[in-house]
Symmetry: C2
Subunit: 371 residues, 2 copies
């Protein structure tokens, strides 16, 4: 299949620093190439891929402080990736709704994976206006604010099979990994460890926006024999940090659309303790790969039961449900379904209706006749 | 003529606070209505106009802090104003290059006035890519970084004829009006006044970004019997402040594409002293409506000659060259020229070529046959 992957330009593909979306775009792209598809990646020029790279700007925008008007390269990306009539069977956009106006007018079907939160009221008119655009959610829970949108499927994220190694034996500590921010509740992770009487290692970066929160709420809690704050760690260090932990403690108090760190833990064989929020119940199997809790006390109790979890089951869940090749196969199946069903048909109809008749009209024969 | 005016949503039209672009869009819109044209204004819902208002969002984005993702209303604006096939003869966009992808694909010609600086390297690929889009500069000088772009004309800004009143008699002070920022050189305005031995009144706001500059460089200069800093003034106060001044001192050291304050001064009958930068020589007639200088010393000398300027000539220059009705008539002539020449023809060709032939082709007959 001739597939275009369209990445945001904020980070390179894969990202040099943190960049969840660009990381996933990289995994999808490389797996599709490995499967034998003809893949073109639209991204910043410092990206690295086995696909054909269409470089829109020399450097990722996040790193290029010389670019003052970031709308300019983003517009070039839209025009080149979504505007031109090019020989793709399908275009897969990771640009959020930014790509919709040109996607709607493209004769090649465009499918968009939404990588972020959807609970902003100003998004409602956008998804109503572009209601014919097929969308992919990264969890079923992500759809919650916009259940009526045109969902073509849910595809959970996946990681390369060998990115993390299975650790059959844990050492005697709990792990917290992520950003220090109020909605991640590092304060509760600390409380849980103290009440359970187990060491907690916190590997976390503190963004400038969260510096005040860190100093006011978290730093005073760190001076305790059970608590160790080790700051930000590299990707290479994550394998040991997560893999040696008894459990990853994720007392997140917001509906995260998909928590990559959860499947990183499963890949290592490390069970996950988390609240019932957002995508968590789709990722963690209660009692099998971790515990889904409602309160701090329940999570303290769960720490006591974590030794009952078979770490092999955690890795097995990863191998079965959260690898990059499973993700890529899901996407290919979704592309095929869209092409067979004539979804993305509205794009054709819109483009044709727009220009031939001066009004929007669904002309299914035109779409189905596309070949 | 059926004309659409497309304003950015940052401020209402006219703006509640500062907003140069929205102010000009308002003047054009109201003058076109007064001339009898059928005008539709795409803007925020708190705009006020005699035209048909197409409200994209209830409130200007600058004032609505409840909107987190500002790309969402901007996308709705593009789709509604530039995407739909609607019954306009011409669409006049003030969205900078943001409107280009849909403008290119619209069967109605779209002309874009560029309101800002163009000297950013990242703009070059955008204007090369969209080289068929007709552009209006607000001064000839503004074109300097992109002389090869598709310029359809220059239209200088204008103000309503009765917005400012003619002040035949000046009081004995110089005036500085604007933002306190390094490129406006308020330090030089102060030096010039001191060397000329004349009082200087400074009416200026200090943006948070310029607070350090103000405190370090300007505040120490204010403690002098000739210098009076009166802070930010309202539009209503500007008439007296500028009109009673011997001259407006504008030692700007950057190529401002158009200085609205210069024509405010001319409307009051107040001569302008400025350096030869950007649009200045297009606005000020040396020796007639002010003096164009090269150095601080020349500007000190010019202060001594300012009594030779006939204030009636300044107002006459305003009445002849810088009124809103002249601006609107210029735009109508430009619209007519574009329609007659078939400029915006490329938009048609692009749209047709794109969808019928799968490649860009200029098909002039299709455009000229639009009626």
């Amino acid at each position: 299949m001739r597939i275009a992957q369209v990445a945001p330009l904020w980070e390179s593909v894969p990202p040099k620093l943190y960049g969840g979306t660009e990381r996933i775009v990289s995994y999808i792209t490389e797996e599709l190439v490995a499967m034998g598809h003809d893949v073109t990646l639209f991204a910043s020029g410092d990206s690295e891929t086995a696909a054909r790279l269409e470089a829109i700007c020399p450097q990722a925008l996040r790193l290029n402080t010389g670019i003052f008007n970031r709308d300019a390269p983003l517009m070039m990306l839209q025009e080149r990736a979504l505007g031109a009539t090019v020989d793709f069977d399908i275009i897969h956009s990771h640009l959020d709704f930014i790509g919709f106006p040109l996607a709607r007018r493209n004769t090649v079907p465009v499918v968009t994976t939404l990588h972020g939160r959807l609970d902003l009221p100003e998004l409602v008119p956008v998804f109503r206006e572009f209601s014919e655009m097929p969308l992919v959610s990264i969890s079923d829970a992500q759809r919650h604010p916009l259940p009526w949108a045109h969902w073509a499927g849910t595809v959970h994220h996946g990681l390369p099979r060998s990115l993390y190694s299975f650790h059959p034996q844990a050492q005697g500590y709990l792990a917290f990994l992520g950003r220090i921010s109020p909605e991640k509740r590092p304060d509760q992770a600390i409380e849980i460890a103290k009440r359970a009487g187990l060491p907690l290692r916190i590997a976390a970066k503190v963004d400038p926006a969260d510096q005040n929160y860190f100093e006011a709420e978290i730093e005073p809690l760190l001076n305790h024999p059970l608590i160790e704050f080790i700051g930000e760690i590299s990707d290479a260090e994550k394998d040991e940090f997560i893999g040696n932990a008894m459990a990853l403690v994720c007392p997140y108090d917001w509906p995260e659309p998909f928590g990559l760190v959860l499947i990183e833990a499963l890949a290592c064989g490390t069970p996950v303790l988390a609240y019932r929020r957002g995508s968590i119940p789709e990722i963690i199997n209660h009692g099998v790969t971790g515990f889904i809790c409602e309160t701090v006390s329940e999570m303290v109790d769960a720490v006591g039961q974590v030794a009952l979890i078979d770490r092999g089951q955690c890795r097995a869940a990863f191998d079965e449900r959260f690898t990059a090749d499973r993700m890529a196969r899901d996407y290919v199946a979704l592309y095929e379904r869209l092409l067979e069903d004539g979804d993305g048909q509205t794009a054709h109809a819109f483009a044709s209706g727009q220009l031939n008749n001066g009004s929007f009209k669904t002309e299914q024969h035109q779409i189905l006749g596309r070949g």
